[in-house]
């Protein structure tokens, strides 16, 4: 997305955004932060929903992340493309990570939650990325993202419960 395109869509000139943002990267960082925050809000609501098992809640959270990639690929790329050294970006990303951490802890227990949380977060991001880039073709692998998420959660639950410590 070019700044001219942003301007055109908003009906203003190309230089107008520079009154509100220091440069293009700052504008993009703002978009990334908003996306992180909105997704964190969604997962937070979802985590408060008592109407399903911890497994199902975690699954829906992971699918929510993947859905952002499907619906807003550019925004999704910004989330993980924006350097994490911006404090506000790191904060909003951390909020989502903490939501995932809590959901994972409900599935695998508190010890090891960080461990499996990192794996779930990374795998979710990887599934989204593979699907986005077209490298997760159903024709090739005969599975879709939804089944992968299911398999992932089953695997870590089994691993965590079967081999404590």
């Amino acid at each position: 997305m070019t700044l001219r395109a942003v301007g055109a869509r908003a009906g203003v000139s190309r230089g107008a955004p520079y009154g509100h943002f220091e440069n293009k990267e700052h504008l993009l960082t703002r978009l990334a932060i908003d996306t992180w925050t909105s997704l964190a809000d969604e997962v937070e609501r979802l985590r408060a929903d008592p109407g399903c098992t911890p497994d199902a809640r975690l699954e829906r959270a992971v699918l929510a992340l993947i859905e952002v990639g499907r619906r807003h690929p550019h925004r999704y790329a910004l989330m993980f493309g924006t350097p994490a050294d911006d404090p506000e970006a790191a904060g909003s990303a951390g909020r989502l990570e903490n939501e995932f951490l809590a959901l994972v802890a409900d599935v695998v227990g508190e010890p090891g939650a960080l461990h499996y949380g990192a794996l779930v977060m990374s795998s979710a991001h990887g599934i989204a990325g593979m699907e986005l880039s077209g490298h997760l073709s159903k024709e090739k692998w005969q599975v879709g993202s939804e089944e992968l998420v299911r398999t992932l959660i089953d695997a870590i639950r089994g691993q965590a419960n079967g081999l404590p410590g």
Copy 2:
């Protein structure tokens, strides 16, 4: 990387690459293909090494993918950023995917190899991506990529062997 920078490094002018590549995207696609191919070669050699267990071989293959991300972040981004609709790119990517598939089959058995292969490939990509974007800070998660890879492989092996079908 701009084409002018490519030219400067090669000691030629900015337009010189256009005698060899149709446009910038084609040049970058070529880089992506070379990276896919080189990694597939490396994993193929690794797979022929009889000196370690199937687990260890798969682990080293995943780490090889992550290592590309560490050493050549731009090339890594090109691999999964280049649209997979280019036939040659799809072919070279498919070669690496098949190497992974074979390695995974040695660990979890033939049935379910596609299933777990897709998960391993996606998770590996996700771990690499999280590390690259700085979202896998050891301070936050208290784990590094190496341990995540270990955990991932343990989890899918346990899952595949414990619950057949």
